[in-house]
Amino acid sequence: METGTTRVKRGMAEMQKGGVIMDVMNAEQARIAEAAGAVAVMALERVPADIRAAGGVARMADPALIEEIMKAVSIPVMAKARIGHYVEAKVLEAIGVDYIDESEVLTPADEVYHIDKHQFTVPFVCGAKDLGEALRRIQEGASMIRTKGEPGTGNIVEAVRHMRLIMSQIRKVQNMSKDELYNEAKVLGVPYDLLLYVHENGKLPVVNFAAGGVATPADAALMMHLGADGVFVGSGIFKSENPEKYARAIVEATTHYEDYDLIARVSRNLGAPMRGIEISQLTGFDRMQDRSV
């Protein structure tokens, strides 16, 4: 009997496919998310939109809050550690969270090194803007990838950019010859064997979700249409006018992303989505996607 194998860790993410993972800040929101059909919740003290507004250093959530959320629901509970913060991640593992997000939404603890995720029984999800970043995170032990997008903006444009780039890079790698692959591994700064996997299989070796800017059912369906395996919704639910309706509608639109009559039906009279931020207004450190490579 073996725990924490690659298959067990990646398999956990495979069970989340076609589903919606929702950010929640307390037990009540976690129950709303579960009742709406979320496949997991991300336990946070503040959703990304509030982290932006609050400023200062954003850290791992209070273990008491995470435990309260774990007690409130039967679905998996994820939590975020700062990039490179090995100890925050070990604390989250000790608490018993089901998945750790090594996340650029929090203030990075290390500007060079990510966590060596092979040293954990619990699986990790990491953000990526392109294929190179995705494969570097997988090499470090990530069992799930998500686009970075631009968290807390309610603006889908960056998640679209990242998903489109990853997918087009995968298609390009698929058609490369061996000698081109050797060079591409060097150009992307990734191990050759992972690139070979992409070449042979036409996909990442782990599940690839969309995240960072999903605010409406149509946004979620768009990301599925572009090839996402599932969707993270951060601020989009509990910063909207009617979180319960938004949560249910986004779950349905993710399952039936090609059924436009259904998306029209679930999108009717939802009330206002989260307000949103135009990306060009963000510069420097406010661009969370630039916090790691």
């Binding site: 298959r7 039967s74 399952t255």
Partner: protein, 199 residues
């Protein structure tokens, strides 16, 4: 005759089941609408989150449609969340979903994700141990008289069969071994030959 198996595709590890079924020569398709059930010889309910899958099944009329499918004598195979969805009783007060198999199941029975594991497992009807991947897995606490226990791990029931219903706690679709899928396809072939198959 080619056997057509559907994989319920509301949420979860759908592709993996399709791959496992195609590997042994069955036709396999994702099922998102109840109308698709009529074309099938058998149905797989995959792993995923049972609360999500159960909710979406209710919303789109799959509960009644799959009960009719079973009443027509067509085989159903539930893995992990699929096992929970098939059970008549779910410990802890959660409403049963399809309520077809006479058994009581316990969700997340082995613990949280860090306790998830893989192991070699003996399964009745399969001539060699198979690799079984347990992810936040449920177990079968007790079974009614019509249910045959197919596998036990450390004293807990992890696979069972009741007539043309098959269920396991673990994920045969996450390995390269299609032995359990072959067992299920054989059930579908037998059902089809006896006249309860698709058109």
């Amino acid at each position: 005759m080619t056997i057509h198996i559907g994989v319920l595709a509301l949420q979860g590890a759908v592709e993996e089941h399709i791959r496992s079924l195609r590997r042994i020569g069955a036709e396999a398709v994702p099922v998102k609408r109840v109308e698709q059930l009529g074309e099938l010889h058998g149905l797989v309910i995959p792993g995923g989150e049972s609360t999500t899958i159960g909710k979406l099944m209710r919303k789109y009329g799959f509960i009644e449609a799959i009960r009719r499918f079973a009443a027509d004598g067509k085989p159903i195979f539930g893995t992990c969340a699929g096992l929970i969805v098939l059970a008549k009783r779910i410990e802890g007060g959660e409403e049963p979903h399809l309520g077809l198999m006479d058994m009581t199941v316990v969700r997340n029975a082995f613990g949280r994700q860090r306790e998830s594991f893989e192991t070699d497992l003996e399964v009745a009807g399969i001539d060699r141990p198979i690799r079984a991947v347990f992810i936040r897995a449920p177990l079968i606490k007790e079974v009614g008289p019509g249910v045959e226990v197919l596998s036990v791990y450390r004293g807990e029931i992890v696979a069972a069969r009741q007539g043309r219903l098959l269920a396991c706690s673990f994920h045969p679709e996450l390995t390269d071994d299609s032995a359990l899928h072959a067992y299920f396809v054989a059930m579908a072939e037998e059902a089809a030959a006896s006249g309860s198959g698709a058109k």
